[in-house]
């Protein structure tokens, strides 16, 4: 199992994501100007950070970098893609995931450990979780308030695209319906604001984030 972790100018968490992924497989950093995903890469992580300085709008510029065209092709052919924080924002901008991320209701950056409820285990990145499982994972962002219009939310609900919710009392940013992570209809592309790559070692926090990386490494049930 090999993970490709994107690096844009302004990415911050790509090393952390690569280290986390390396706990369940191999990992390689991919440069934003590359036009192809190496053939041996089985899954893509779009990491957190401030790609292109968050200028214009979070994720709006990274979405047009050369590698993203390759990521879109990879995703549309069923390749597993995980967007974390800024990566989630990039995937929303790229139209690979529904909805958008708005500024936190506090209008401030917030770094805090939160509790998440796993809503869907039918995605490439949550298969190793139990339905309803509680995960302790940190958030750290200024623009993490998930939003989608009501009809879109109903459709997402119907198709099991709501993957993670902030547990009761833990919604840090005012996200609609406590949504912390979502998937595309096929379930191969997942985006979330919390940082599972910062929850893979008991020494530095919890280990609950490891489950997301482990999920992709689990063989798909027949």
């Amino acid at each position: 199992m090999k993970f490709g972790v994107l690096r844009f100018p302004g990415s911050c968490d790509e090393r952390d994501a690569a280290l986390a992924a390396a706990k369940v497989g191999e990992s390689e950093i991919l440069w934003h100007q590359d036009r192809e995903i190496p053939g041996d890469v089985d899954a893509i992580i779009v990491p957190g950070g401030f790609s292109y300085g968050d200028y214009l709008r979070v994720g709006a510029i990274a979405r047009f970098s050369p590698i993203m065209a390759a990521v879109e092709r990879f995703a549309r052919t069923g390749g597993p893609v995980l967007g974390i924080c800024n990566g989630f924002q990039v995937l929303c901008e790229a139209g690979l995931l529904p909805g958008a991320l708005l500024p936190n209701t506090s209008l401030r950056f917030l770094c805090r450990q939160v509790e998440l409820d796993v809503v869907s285990t039918e995605t490439a990145w949550t298969r190793a979780c139990d339905p309803g499982e509680r995960l302790s994972v940190p958030v750290k962002h200024t623009t993490g308030r998930y939003y989608a219009p009501e009809p879109v939310l109903e459709e997402m609900e119907a198709h099991g695209q709501i993957v993670l919710r902030y547990a009761s009392g833990y919604n840090p940013n005012g996200s609609v319906a406590d949504i912390a992570g979502v998937a595309n209809a096929a379930g191969n592309v997942v985006g979330l604001m919390p940082h599972p790559e910062h929850a893979v070692d008991p020494l530095t926090g919890s280990v609950d984030g490891l489950k997301l990386f482990a999920s992709v490494a689990v063989p798909v049930p027949a």
Binding site: G10, C12, Y52, G53, F109, L203
Partner: protein, 728 residues
């Protein structure tokens, strides 16, 4: 001295005799570029002309020091061939004028100092001082925007902000303090210095374009008192762009990784002027610069403006001619602008060209080494310098009420409001997050070992006794490190003081540095670098003299790094106290709440005994025998106990009789030399006579003698809201 230039030199902060000395060194009147360059190089900020002599008294050598003061950052050996480079620096005056950008660029500047020696920055800490938030809207504004600025820069560049301190005193009302510290890691043998070398080598400027921001920052802002019309100085504050710096950081580290650089220097205060002069001075060479080659943000900048601009996110490097193409290619890959702007010469002169025209020609030695150094004329103040604080609690208030008033006071309440605005996690090294332990703990890569880091300084106590107050700042850091099991390797300091030309400020400065020097020697913690910020005087008089100490220590086993919170019901609680521990209300937080004047005698510190006490606590933490360890500091033993309860979510029952036997002020009094620890009773007995058994962990309340019984939930609520509620 009647030329037009003579009026100009005063505007630039030079005295008449300094101007005469410049004329003597040049053998003629300086032109516009030369005058601008000299005014910056001979400013207090760059030339340390009032502090150089006293700084020489600090101990700078130790077995683990691999790079001492004088480089962009100092460094200590942290084992396995790795070095930790670190430094603290002030950005006080810019932050007082424009807090968001002032604080942000303070972080940007200290980050550059660390990666200028080749180290990858791994952590930021900050030390902040403001006026009273309850009564000063301006202080709340400065606090909110400075914290946001620090977060903006550190978060965006992807370096964890892992710790810090914030204190509020009316003495900082007009002149806030924003000190930022950064640590980085590098293989020791790859540390790079800033000395230019190799005649004929190329000088390359890379990073952001040069604009008119920050012109005169070092001389106008940093080396004079603040006063009326500071809003008009706002254009002298630099604007930060962390995205540009992130690219600059990665680009610099790749250039070093590929061995493409001879030397590297960041552009900080005084921009191109000080960076080129320092590089030439250290290498004992000359540098020719062509300002016309410098990429500009505004087309019509004058040569002198280009030389002194403090535009952020720029670096200067020296490259062998054959490597220039490779250097430019690496910069292009990182979308970082890079331009060859000069050449290393054997002239020992800094020569500035505007295309073909020579517009400045100065001996490097005159710029760097001949800056006049002044003797201070210290004299203790005849009368108190600082008014007594406003009383907010009666002397007769019941103990429980006093405890809660302290816990919720601006100085002691939880800093969660601030630290949640910082990314403390990026880098995956943070073993102890803020408020989990007395010091931040960062694990080292591919190792079971870790670093402990603490930053501290208590201006009120230094105001009462500059010597003992400064000793306490070093002791406090060492005590914080002991609580996580870290042994000091070295420290950095930032000396924030008023106008040193005034005898009473000179007195504060010389006595404080004497205290720092004695404490550093006694505790075995050499100074590897630092910064001086003088002239911190606004309309309301001088700030409290505030030496801030940042200390780095090593922990053999990260798994055993200490925590401050009580951890298990039934654990024994003890006070580990040095024999010389003599808590008193003089200079304490309670004295402040009672409106006491800043006078009296601070307890003296037996440094040899304190070192042994710290070692005993450190050993107990390292052995895993203790389940919690917390240094007794502001607010005394009572507050330390409350903090242990809050952090652990557990109550405790404590007998006050053995405390009161030691001192009538043992509950709320302050003074170095005591720790609250918990663990199995036999582990605490191992401390022998140093351990004063206090009681037991457990129950929903902190019960302190007969007078105090407060629910932990209530302690937590008061602690959590004390600062946050002031800011809505």
């Amino acid at each position: 001295m009647s030329s037009a230039a003579s009026a100009r030199h005063r505007e630039l902060g030079l005295t008449d005799s300094e101007y005469d000395l410049i004329v003597e060194k040049l053998g003629r009147e300086p032109d516009e570029v030369e005058l601008a360059v000299f005014s910056l190089m001979w400013s207090e900020h760059c030339g340390y002309k009032h502090s150089r002599k006293v700084l020489r008294t600090l101990p700078t050598e130790g077995p683990r020091v691999v790079m001492g003061p004088g480089e962009n950052a100092g460094a200590v050996d942290v084992g396995d061939g790795l070095a930790c480079a670190f430094k603290v620096e002030s950005h006080n005056h810019p932050s007082a004028v424009e807090p968001f950008q002032g604080a942000a660029t303070g972080v940007g500047g200290i980050l550059r100092d660390v990666f200028a020696v080749g180290a990858r920055p791994v952590a930021i800490l900050d030390s902040l001082r403001f006026g009273e938030p309850a009564t000063s809207a301006r202080s709340r504004y400065l606090l909110e925007h400075a914290v946001a600025g620090i977060g903006h820069y550190g978060n965006s560049i992807g370096v964890a902000t892992v710790g810090g301190e914030i204190y509020f005193e009316s003495a900082y009302e007009h002149n806030c303090l924003v000190n930022a510290m950064c640590l980085g890691l590098i293989e020791t043998e790859r540390l790079i210095r800033s000395a230019a070398a190799g005649v004929g080598n190329v000088v390359v400027l890379f990073g952001a374009r040069t604009g008119r921001d920050g012109i005169g920052g070092a001389s106008v802002l940093a080396s004079a008192e603040l006063g009326e019309g500071d809003a008009a100085k706002r254009p002298t504050v630099q604007i930060g762009d962390p995205f540009e710096e992130k690219k600059l950081l990665e680009c610099s580290l790749e250039l070093l990784d590929r061995d493409l650089l001879v030397s590297l220097q960041d552009l900080g205060a005084a921009g191109l002027t000080s960076s080129s002069a320092e590089m030439a001075s250290k290498g004992e060479v000359g540098i020719d610069l062509d300002v016309r080659k410098v990429p500009l943000r505004e087309a019509d900048m004058e040569p002198f403006e280009i030389m002194i601009s403090e535009s952020q996110e720029r670096m200067l490097c020296v490259v062998e001619p054959d490597d220039v193409a490779d250097v430019l290619a690496v910069c292009e890959r990182w979308e970082t602008r890079a331009t060859a702007v000069g050449v290393v010469t054997d002239t020992r002169r800094l020569r500035v060209f505007d295309g073909e025209a020579l517009v400045g020609d100065m001996p490097v030695e005159a710029l760097v080494d001949d800056c006049p150094v002044y003797d201070l004329a210290p004299a203790p103040p005849a009368v108190g310098l600082y008014p007594a604080p406003e009383r907010v609690i009666a002397d007769e208030a019941p103990a429980a009420e006093t405890l809660l008033a302290l816990l919720g006071s601006a100085n002691l309440a939880s800093r969660r409001w601030a630290f949640e605005q910082y990314d403390c996690l990026v880098g995956s090294a943070t073993v102890r997050r803020p408020e989990a332990a007395d010091a931040a703990v960062l694990r080292l890569p591919d190792s079971k070992r870790a670093l402990g880091v603490s930053i501290d300084g208590n201006g009120r106590r230094v105001a009462i006794d500059p010597y003992r107050g400064a000793v306490e700042a070093v002791v406090e850091c060492s005590a914080n490190l002991a609580c996580v099991g870290a042994e000091p390797l070295g420290l950095t300091n930032c000396l924030n003081f008023g106008n040193p030309e005034k005898p009473h400020i000179a007195y504060q400065l010389t006595r404080a540095v004497a205290g720092l020097a004695d404490a550093c020697r006694a505790l075995g913690a050499p100074v590897v670098g630092g910064n001086v910020s003088l002239y911190n005087e606004g309309g309301g008089g001088p700030i409290y003299p505030t030496p801030v100490v940042g200390m780095v220590g090593e922990i053999p086993d990260a798994e055993r790094a200490g925590r401050l919170g009580f951890a298990r019901e039934g654990d024994a609680v003890a006070l580990i106290a040095a024999g010389s521990w003599a808590p008193s209300l003089i200079g304490s937080e309670l004295a402040k709440l009672r409106g006491a004047p800043l006078e009296g005698e601070l307890p003296s510190a037996d440094l040899g005994e304190l070192r042994a006490t710290h070692a005993a606590v450190r050993q107990a933490v390292r052995s895993g025998a203790l389940r919690s360890a917390h240094d007794v500091a502001e607010g005394g033993v009572a507050i330390a106990l409350a903090e242990c309860c809050i952090a652990g979510g557990l109550g405790a029952t404590v007998d006050v009789a053995p405390l009161l036997e030691r001192s009538a002020d043992a509950l709320f009094g302050e003074g170095p030399g005591a720790f609250v620890v918990s663990g199995p009773a036999e582990a605490l007995r191992a401390f022998g006579g140093a351990a004063i058994p206090l009681g037991t962990v457990g129950g929903p309340q902190l019960r302190l003698g007969d007078e105090i019984a407060v629910d932990v939930a209530e302690l937590s609520r008061v602690h959590a809201h004390g600062l946050a509620d002031l800011l809505h």
